[in-house]
């Protein structure tokens, strides 16, 4: 069954459309990356999925029902929105215990998830003193309490050190491998390329792409050779397949070696001969450049 289904989802704040007519599905057994620049509406969408914010239009179903109609929601859905959104005066164990009790989960689950995320040693400490990495682990522990089949993470690697990033990345892959639906937002394409199977890209609250990561990479990673020369017109004539730009020639059908050999034989001096591989980051920038709310 489709884990999350958004249908024409919209959210208006005054005259701004934070989310506009957004439709997408999140499927189980894979990591779905929710990608977009800061301010694109990712967090707002996540809050609407979780029944925290009321949509201005459209609807979103979780496990086939509106979130508020789930009887023990944490047994279906686990979410980490903001790791620092906890009462700093409570111990990690009591924080998790209160959440577990609200959904009729046994206290033994608290010990299990503390073990899973590696916080058992600090379970009695007040969470106000936790580092960001520890808070993220605590948030993930809370999301796992009900052993849910659907998991949402909002920018989980933000501000983490490389160890923490690797841990979360591996962990999300494991959860998906167990057949769960993992929906994770990020504003970093490179992060998603390493974690996600499927991508939902939004900008200014609108859907830009809904595609597998494979397809996205295939579509956007076609490289080319950039050639610059004082006698550029002659080079262009020589290679025939090039695309002439104002100060350089762009060739997609030949390698640097082939071009270099040709021009050497013709005795044409070259200023530059470079293979250019556009990064995923660049592809993503290209895709979202029109939708940045605040451009530098």
């Amino acid at each position: 069954m489709t884990a999350i289904r958004a249908t024409n989802l919209s959210k208006r704040y005054g005259s701004t459309m934070a989310v506009a007519d957004l439709s997408f599905d999140v499927e189980p057994g894979q990591v779905t990356g929710f990608l977009g620049p800061n301010g694109a509406g990712k967090s707002t969408t996540m809050r609407m999925i979780l029944g925290l914010d009321r949509p201005s239009g459209g609807s979103v179903l979780v496990a086939g029902r509106p979130y508020a109609e789930l009887r023990h929601p944490l047994r279906k859905v686990g979410a980490l929105l903001d790791a620092k959104a906890v009462h700093g005066g409570r111990s990690a164990r009591n924080h998790l215990l209160a959440i577990a009790q609200s959904n009729g989960l046994p206290a033994s689950r608290v010990e299990e998830v503390l073990e899973t995320v590696g916080l058992r040693e600090v379970a009695k400490r007040r969470v106000g003193g936790f580092s960001l990495g520890m808070s993220q682990r605590l948030g993930i522990a809370a999301a796992l309490l009900g052993d849910p089949e659907i998991l949402l993470f909002d920018e989980p690697v933000n501000g983490l050190d490389p160890d923490g990033i690797l841990w979360i990345r591996t962990f999300m892959r494991e959860l998906a491998a167990q057949g769960r639906a993992v929906f994770v937002s990020s504003h970093l394409m490179s992060e998603m390329a390493q974690t996600a199977d499927h991508l939902i890209v939004i900008g200014r609250g609108r859907l830009i792409a809904d595609t597998s990561v494979q397809e996205f990479i295939g579509r956007s990673s076609q490289g080319y050779v950039r050639v610059r020369s004082p006698r550029l017109a002659e080079v262009a004539e020589l290679v025939k397949v090039g695309e002439l730009h104002h100060d350089h020639l762009r060739v997609t059908a030949m390698s640097t070696l082939e071009i270099g050999t040709l021009t050497a034989r013709a005795g044409i001096p070259l200023e530059e001969l470079t293979f250019v591989q556009p990064s995923l980051e660049a592809a993503y920038m290209e895709l979202t450049k029109d939708s940045l709310e605040f451009s530098a």
Partner: protein, 246 residues
Amino acid sequence: MIDILRSEWTKIRSVRSTVWTLAAAFGLMVGLSALLSASIKNDAEGPIPAGQAVAASLLGIMFAQLAIATLGVLVISSEYRTGGIRTSLMSVPKRMKLLTGKLVVFGATSLVVSALASAAALGVGLAFTQPPELATGEVVRALIGSSLYLTACGIFGLGLGTLVRHTPGAIVAAIGLMLVLPQVANQLPGQWGRTVAEYFTTNAGQLLVAGQSSESLTPWGGFGVYLAWIAVATIAGAVLMQRRDA
């Protein structure tokens, strides 16, 4: 619902602000009772009337009510301040159930603490003043009145916290409505002013603590009027909680 009550009990018992505010309420009740009763006994020539002795024992309620209202505010506003409200609503998406859970658990907690504090204040105060003709019924009535009044003040705080969501704002609103404005109302001129003052929040509610009727309200009638004020704040807060984005 029992799950939600368990969860709310874990929340309320696991933060230090609960201990501090309840200890403050208890300390203010007992401490001021001891202070005032001792001073009355000192100044008195002859035995002290029972009514005066009981009233002196419970004078700390003026300040204890603010301590307990502060805890009421914090029970919900601390969740809005930290963002923990989102975690709570993800666990319990039916918002009225969450609010009911908070009201029940906090209400029961403050009733127990209020009863203990009132009993201790009466015990200490009466030990100092030693009124000769003290009826048990009078003491029990004062104990019940004081316990219920303090608990109601706590619920008033929780209602205001739900309405305002912002800790300092809600505490200022509580102080204004429970302590400052009732005094201001007492200064209003004419019959119209007297009626407003009589029906104003704690002016009406404290009739139950004193066990005395005012011009048009009996002790229980006054307490009923106070509960109506609290209901308005709480219901307004509940409606907004249901409507607003968390």
